[in-house]
């Protein structure tokens, strides 16, 4: 009696067989109301709880999905996971969460662990979606999976993202349109994020289209909050950068902070733009101008897509969702470089 009651106990208590109890639980309509009542009463009396692990062992699917993101410390991923999680729970799916900290080794470890859990499918944001052993593994094992935020070059693997290069192109172009000619990009390390590189490509293309040869780039850790040092040379050096495009909104917020630390006003002295569209961006001053992606919706869509793959109803394909520039205040018109860098 000390251990948890099992279906067998319920069967005994209700004077019926274990098969009938199972049917009451799984196919209530295949069983007479009277019988169902008896069984339900027994279950309530015994405080019975189905052991999902027993079920999982027997059934071919586990009604479980694995999620791997770089970190929850960046609201972009937290928001996406929030979307995934909400819908998953509404559908009775269990979410197994892991974060990789942008580390490919940990990505593999996490996926491996999730496969051992026999997840029905996976939603992942990988450091680099191309030539990725994790992707190869998943394809080999024929496990349904959807990449989220990644924008792989292969078209035959499922992925939900915005057009990263175009996002960066758009925000950069907006800055150029305001007269800025000396621009820099602050990006997370490329090896930690293919998005980062793709966004840098878009940045470069925008400069090329505007005939600006000089392309400044500073790569930083994604969780770097202190950009005072990294940005110092660009803002205060000979370049006198007046426009800073950041590969993420988190970096953009840190960049604005760094500008002020150098005695520069945003957007009067320096314009700053981000990419992602995290919600705090819209609340701060100056309002962050950003290439916004529908983050939470993307999480939802990734799950919906994954469910389709699991049911075999859909084929893997990449989906590009539309982004838009937010009407921010962090990008202003070029006003010269007179008052640059009061403090170093």
């Amino acid at each position: 009696m000390s251990s948890k009651p099992t279906m067998r106990d319920v069967a005994r208590k209700s004077g019926l067989s274990i098969a009938t109890v199972s049917r009451v639980i799984n196919f209530p309509d295949q069983v007479p109301a009277e019988t169902a009542k008896v069984v339900t009463a027994a279950m309530a009396y015994l405080n019975y709880r189905p052991n999902i692990n027993g079920r999982r062992l027997k059934m071919t699917h586990t009604r479980t999905v694995g999620v791997v993101v770089p970190t929850l410390a960046n609201p972009v991923f937290a928001t996406a996971v929030q979307g995934i999680e909400q819908d998953a729970n509404a559908k009775g799916l269990t979410v197994l969460l892991t974060s990789s900290n942008y580390d490919p080794e940990r990505e593999m470890g996490a996926v491996s662990a999730l496969l051992n859990n026999r997840v029905d499918g996976l939603i992942l944001t990988l450091a680099n979606a191309d030539n990725n052993p994790v992707v190869d593994l998943l394809l080999a094992e024929k496990i349904p999976f959807v990449l989220l935020f990644n924008q792989p070059s292969r078209a035959d693997i499922a992925a939900i993202s915005v057009d990263n290069a175009q996002s960066a192109y758009d925000i950069t172009t907006a800055m150029i349109a305001k007269g800025h000619r000396s621009l820099a990009m602050v990006a997370g390390h490329f090896e930690s994020s293919d998005r980062s590189r793709q966004r840098y490509d878009g940045f470069c293309r925008a400069l090329d289209d505007a005939g600006i040869p000089q392309k400044n780039l500073v790569q930083v850790r994604f969780d770097e909050a202190d950009l005072v040092g990294p940005l110092g040379a660009l803002l205060c050096g000979p370049e006198k950068v007046t426009g800073v495009v950041c590969s993420t909104d988190m970096l953009a917020i840190a960049a604005m902070n760094a500008c002020r630390a150098h005695g520069l006003s945003v957007p009067d002295d320096v314009s700053v733009g981000g990419i992602d569209g995290i919600s705090v961006g819209g609340l701060i001053t100056p309002k962050l101008c950003s290439a916004v992606q529908p983050t939470q919706e993307m999480g939802r869509q990734a799950l919906a897509f994954l469910r389709g793959l699991i049911k075999g109803q859909a084929n893997p394909q990449s989906l590009l969702l539309p982004h838009h520039l937010s009407a921010g205040e962090s990008i202003g018109s070029y006003r010269g470089t007179d008052q640059h860098c009061s403090s170093t």
Copy 2:
């Protein structure tokens, strides 16, 4: 061959018994190196993956912990979960994540689902920790659990939190020390969060200690980003509130935004303080002054504590962690109420 290889297959392949294979996996040192090598080779050859669900069914513990938080959209919870998740994965524990959206019914549903998964223990942030059916259920079922952020009145249930009332007291007092006498609190709905009420209590106590009778309170939804309306009456009405204490940093950021929408400068016209200490608070301008809690560390501690409970090495008890006021710029000296509310 189409299905996944099992331990039986590995046993057959290596010419050994299933029991030996199991021992190689779980107790490699109880097995001669030679045998281990043979088995490992077979596993590699067959691409064997242990099915954790089989193990879970047999074993009394599942090496799985459930996590329930209100939402990941608030960085406080995301950060805490990040802490939990990192350590859990390092220890080989699987994390089952659910969010309740501050809804007690969904809390119960989530916990119920997690119990069906036979989690070894739970970490939860509940809307209200006192007289909570979820807590009763968990106690009745003798499932180890740790409350996180909740500060229950019972001392015999495990909880990791800061002193919520004192946090609010401190930030309020800091504001009063700057000369503010007309204060208001913006708090999330009390029925969604006992922290919210506890913090309001601290706010009131601070006012009492300062001999200020007028206690303004506006309750809002936690995900409310637009406080322009809710704060309008207080900022522009007869009260001419010059100090706004918010029950969370997210609300504080929204409040600063609302102040500016009313044409008021922070901190020149209105001071704003928050509670939580989310990291963006330190990056924005003005730097948010907040009662900071060690969020990620709290997640880690909750997990460590939970593991102790699971092993039976610890007894449930409430732990109060220290908080501190951040040196922010969002609280300034009282300068009168001349220039109040340029735009409504």
